[in-house]
């Protein structure tokens, strides 16, 4: 899957531009090293013997685009991944959100939904679920269908249950789902406040104001310029004193936003500062 290297950088660049022009899906600012691997991988999986073959399929067969997007975007996720992150949400962030009459949370790049169910469980246990709306978005419509179903492999439940306990979970994890053969179906009361929608971080704009935005392990696939653009989108979509949660190896440290946000714990969670503080800071600057 690593060799043979079927793709030259210039060819890949050209193809990504063509896809953007034809279909409106713009991958040209995805991190080069990573997208090249993904495209190489799809050539191997779908048995294209040359890059030209892949290109032909993509340009001539619009139905293949969906498959391409599914394979290019990484949809590896789990419930309560990095339990310490969810513990910080439970202990430090959700209590602050309680001061709002309605809480709006945006989970950007929600993939198959494991994270949004994790958030709903925390909201339920902190008695906030009734006044919370979870907006879960992804570029890929087919993962959203899975997310909406809330049905995950039963084989994962042992890991998820451990993660849940390590994140400060208070109940029996198995109370939240019904086991059915090989699958665990999560309870409807968790789903009631979830809104699923496609949203493309590259091309779509802000659609609401939120008190908490979570986007984990999505930005690592973007190059620096696109990251900056998406950080701006999040900034525009976040209320003052709102929170931004990123993946365990993602950071605002290399971004312009850094000076207007402060990290609230050792976890990758930042809080947007008030306008006046921002002014003082920029005056000093």
């Amino acid at each position: 899957m690593i060799e043979p290297d079927l793709i030259r950088d210039e060819e890949l660049e050209k193809l990504l531009i063509e896809i953007a022009e034809l279909y409106g899906y713009d991958f040209t600012q995805y991190s080069k090293a990573s997208i090249k691997r993904r495209v190489n991988r799809i050539c191997v999986i779908d048995k294209f013997t040359s890059f030209a073959e892949l290109r032909y399929q993509l340009i001539k067969q619009p139905s293949y685009l969906q498959r391409f997007i599914e394979e290019i975007t990484v949809n590896v996720t789990e419930m309560f991944r990095d339990p310490s992150f969810y513990k910080a949400l439970r202990d430090d962030v959700f209590p602050q959100l309680d001061t709002y009459p309605i809480i709006r949370i945006w989970l950007a790049g929600c993939s198959t939904g494991e994270e949004v169910y994790s958030l709903a469980i925390i909201a339920k246990e902190t008695n906030l679920i009734q006044k919370t709306l979870f907006y879960a978005t992804d570029i890929n419509p087919s993962v959203l269908e899975k997310a909406r179903d809330g049905i995950f492999p039963i084989s994962q439940m042992k890991l998820y249950s451990e993660n849940y306990i390590n994140s400060g979970g208070l109940k029996n994890f198995s109370d939240y789902y019904t086991a059915n053969y090989d699958f665990a179906r999560f309870n409807d009361d968790l789903k009631q406040k979830m809104i699923f929608s496609t949203h493309n971080l590259v091309s779509d704009r802000s659609f609401n104001e939120f008190q908490l935005i979570i986007c984990r392990n999505v930005l690592i696939y973007f190059d620096k310029d696109l990251q900056a653009k998406v950080f701006k989108l999040f900034d525009d979509s976040l209320e003052h004193l709102g929170f931004l949660g990123l993946g365990s190896k993602e950071t605002l440290r290399f971004s312009q936003l850094d000076k207007h946000y402060h990290q609230i714990s050792t976890e990758k969670i930042w809080r947007k500062q008030k306008e006046d503080k921002r002014l003082i800071k920029s005056n000093n600057f």
Binding site: I2, E3, S31, S34, R37, R38, K249
Partner: protein
């Protein structure tokens, strides 16, 4: 900063690193990247442990971290570590490769695309065949390949695979590794 030194290891390689790190020159003119197979949880102790053994700076990098000479970058658990043309680090949480994340193959193959013939790649002790594909890529781009002498390895499978399946330029005992690295320093 044209040179990169890559180290891949699995079971039994921590011991070697603990021997090598204290002997490294305090002013290396290139970065080192270490890819170790380890458990999936965030184990910050490993960075601290390695840091305590060297005056060089050992970092578990964030995404987009720029490479600097004299730093040692330890691939974070559960992410693949890739390099970009501008010599920054890209992390990637895609599927495991050969049952590994981080994958030595993936980092070696990615790094040699950027550093070409100035890539040095070393395989240490370990119980699987990760690294073989990466070493082949390094060799194909005229980089330099190295393996720990299997006789000295706690688990010799990985260096043996490296030696038998790819072309290895140098087979080193643990005591020779630091000297080899220090000699690459350009004054």
């Amino acid at each position: 900063m044209d040179t990169i030194f890559l180290i891949g290891g699995s079971a039994g390689s921590l011991k070697v690193l603990l021997e090598v790190l204290p002997e490294l020159s305090a002013n290396l003119t290139f970065p080192i990247i270490i890819i170790l197979h380890r458990k999936g949880y965030v184990d910050s102790q490993l960075v601290n442990l390695l840091n305590a053994k060297t005056s060089l700076n050992v970092i578990e990098p964030d995404d987009k971290e720029p490479l600097s000479p004299g730093n040692i970058y330890l691939a974070p658990p559960d992410y693949h570590l890739l390099l970009e043309q501008d010599k920054t680090i890209s992390l990637d949480f895609s599927e495991k490769f050969n049952f590994s994340r981080p994958s030595i193959d993936i980092t070696f193959s990615s790094a040699v695309k950027i550093f070409k013939e100035n890539t040095f790649a070393l395989i240490l002790s370990g119980a699987n065949a990760d690294g073989v594909e990466g070493l082949k890529a390094v060799k194909a781009n005229n980089g330099t390949t190295l393996a720990q002498n299997p006789i000295t390895a706690e688990v010799n499978y990985m260096p043996l695979q490296a030696i038998t399946q790819s072309k290895i330029d140098f087979v080193l005992n643990p005591s020779e590794i630091a000297t080899f690295i220090n000699k690459l320093n350009v004054s």
